[in-house]
């Protein structure tokens, strides 16, 4: 992520990037490239507890809380899904719990993900967003005033 951009600006940036591609073939190639660039997840986090239920592939998602902000780490055994998560991480990682909870995530629809991917799969994408928001909510309840350590 670019730390100088807020959530809305990052979403706009992704929308503009996708507008550069004429075909979905190229868009998928770009998504897969983003997945390949995602920092690897420590295998110890690949537990059932951290698994987000999808249809055919597995996704592991964890969050840690530093300086009042949440940082997400994730992996998937499928490349396109991994690319999709890396986009979500780019938008939501390094934000405060409130920012994450309030994020509209309109870019998913804007780049055509919900119409292009079948319901089951985009549900997978939406359930990842939901899971990230749950993490934010959980930290907010646990630590209502952002801690300094």
């Amino acid at each position: 992520m670019n730390p100088h951009l807020n959530i809305a600006e990052t979403e706009k940036e992704i929308i503009e990037e996708f507008a550069l591609f004429d075909s979905w073939d190229d868009k998928y190639e770009y998504i897969i490239d983003m997945g390949k660039r995602l920092s690897p997840l420590d295998p110890k986090f690949k537990t059932d507890e951290n698994r987000v239920r999808g249809c055919q592939s597995s996704v592991w998602l964890v969050a840690d809380f530093r300086d009042g902000k949440l940082f997400f780490h994730a992996d998937s055994d499928a490349m396109i899904v991994k690319g999709l998560i890396s986009m979500l991480i780019r938008v939501l990682s390094g934000r405060t719990a409130d920012e994450i909870i309030e994020a509209k995530m309109d870019f998913i629809r804007e780049i055509g993900m919900t119409t292009h991917l079948a319901q089951t799969r985009s549900n997978g994408l939406l359930s990842m967003v939901k899971q990230m928001k749950h993490y934010a909510l959980a930290y907010k309840i646990k630590d209502p005033v952002p801690s300094k350590n």
Binding site: Y28, E29, C55, Q56, I80
Partner: protein
């Protein structure tokens, strides 16, 4: 579509394709290439017409009414039963029970025959290549009755290990329920000889014919199976219709599966007597329209000839094997000597889901995942496969397109 489709030696595939209106549509801006026929086949115009004709002209509830519409609907419904009887070579029309599909047929036998006949310590044999619907009903039955479920292992080619089956058979064996053709591998199991072996120890034999009914010539009398279940929708027919064939003596000895209208002879508040076969097992208003339209699907298959269809599909499968194996990193799962119409594969570094999404993006429909056969996937230590499965309307051109699509998948994902 405007692509030239080469003629098979004996079939005019271009003409056959024209009978399937859905094959004219585009997916993601390209002509649809439908290679998910083991999940469900597309429907020819005559099946769609039969549905419309029924609802337009003679929709009525069957067997009870004495008005003209009811008589016409009843006659058409029962004509399908006769057509099914001939299609699978059954001895009598009373042995043909309409169900919702293969799954319901298996559950009917597990519930009705199974709960009456299975006791503590009895053994039921299935195989390592079963669809979940031929595993779970027996697991539930075994759990309830304290019976034992035994599983015939398979070799690396995806064939049953017959010696292991022979060893399992014994005086405790009460039932063998086996898939005729594997949905995930395409393996054709030698059920005829296996039925004879089971009968030698006094066991009943059920065949899951979900995949075989469309590809193989089925004659239940010749096979001598006790039960045979299949679905219409995998056979160019409508969804929501299946058939359970059962030998008359067995069906007569079995208690009803579901209770309600149609299946009764006489009801008082103290005692109910049940209707004769096959109606004893057809409680409630059946799926009249789809059963009637199923006859048109059988007619479609009959008019082309199963032998010609199989030859064409065999040619497609052999060609697919040949071409797919040229793709670097691709491994075909399931290389049985006797195999029909299914090519299941994995590609190094490519998750089946990625393969499915990227092919769909080129208008190519394949199935990806575990194919409701998780124990089989575990056997091969894979999470799932991508599966191309063929029907009479598919062409070599479409396999070429699949290969091009997969070459692109390999390029993008590596």
């Amino acid at each position: 579509m405007n692509v030239s489709v080469p003629k098979s030696k004996s079939l005019d595939i271009t003409a056959i394709r024209q009978e399937f209106p859905i094959l004219n549509r585009e997916v993601k801006g390209r002509p649809l290439i439908y290679l998910d026929n083991a999940a469900t086949t597309q429907k020819p115009q005559q099946v769609i017409d039969a549905l419309i004709h029924y609802y337009t002209n003679y929709n009525a509830n069957i067997h009870r009414g004495i008005h003209t519409l009811a008589e016409e609907a009843t006659a058409a419904f029962e004509q399908t039963r006769d057509a099914v009887k001939s299609f699978i070579g059954a001895g009598s029309r009373e042995e043909i029970i309409f169900t919702r599909g293969t799954t319901e047929g298996i559950n009917l036998v597990a519930y009705s025959w199974g709960r009456k006949n299975i006791r503590t310590g009895d053994e039921i044999i299935i195989s390592n290549m079963e669809h979940h619907s031929n595993i779970v009903p027996w697991q539930l039955l075994c759990e309830e009755k304290g019976a034992v479920l035994k599983v015939i292992p398979i070799n690396d080619n995806g064939e049953l290990i017959q010696e292991e089956y022979e060893k399992m058979l014994g005086p405790k064996t009460k039932l063998v329920s086996l898939v005729h053709v594997s949905n995930a591998l395409g393996t054709v199991n030698p059920v005829k000889q296996m039925i004879a072996r089971a009968h030698a120890v006094g066991a009943v034999f059920m065949v899951d014919g979900a995949q075989s009914a469309v590809h193989l010539e089925i004659n239940v009398t010749d096979l001598d199976c006790d039960f045979f279940a299949f679905s219409a929708h995998k056979l160019y027919g409508p969804t929501g219709v299946g058939v359970l064939y059962g030998k008359r003596a067995l069906l007569e000895s079995m208690p009803p599966f579901q209770a309600g209208g149609e299946m009764i002879k006489e009801v008082t508040l103290q005692k109910t007597t049940f209707n004769d076969l096959p109606y004893k097992f057809e409680a409630g208003t059946p799926n009249i329209a789809d059963v009637i339209a199923f006859k048109s699907a059988l007619h479609f298959v009959h008019s082309i000839g199963k032998d010609k269809i199989r030859k064409h599909e065999q040619d497609l499968m052999d060609y697919a094997h040949l071409e797919l194996e040229k793709i670097p990193g691709l491994t075909i799962i399931g290389k049985a000597k006797e195999k029909v119409s299914v090519v299941s594969f994995v590609i190094e570094k490519a998750h089946p889901q990625d393969i499915g999404i990227l092919l769909d993006n080129r208008g190519i429909a394949v199935r990806t995942g575990h194919h409701c056969a998780q124990p089989l996937m575990d056997r091969f230590c894979i999470p799932g496969t991508a599966r191309a499965s063929f029907a009479v309307y598919n062409s070599r051109y479409e396999i070429d397109e699949l290969v091009k699509g997969l070459q692109r998948v390999v390029k993008i994902l590596s």
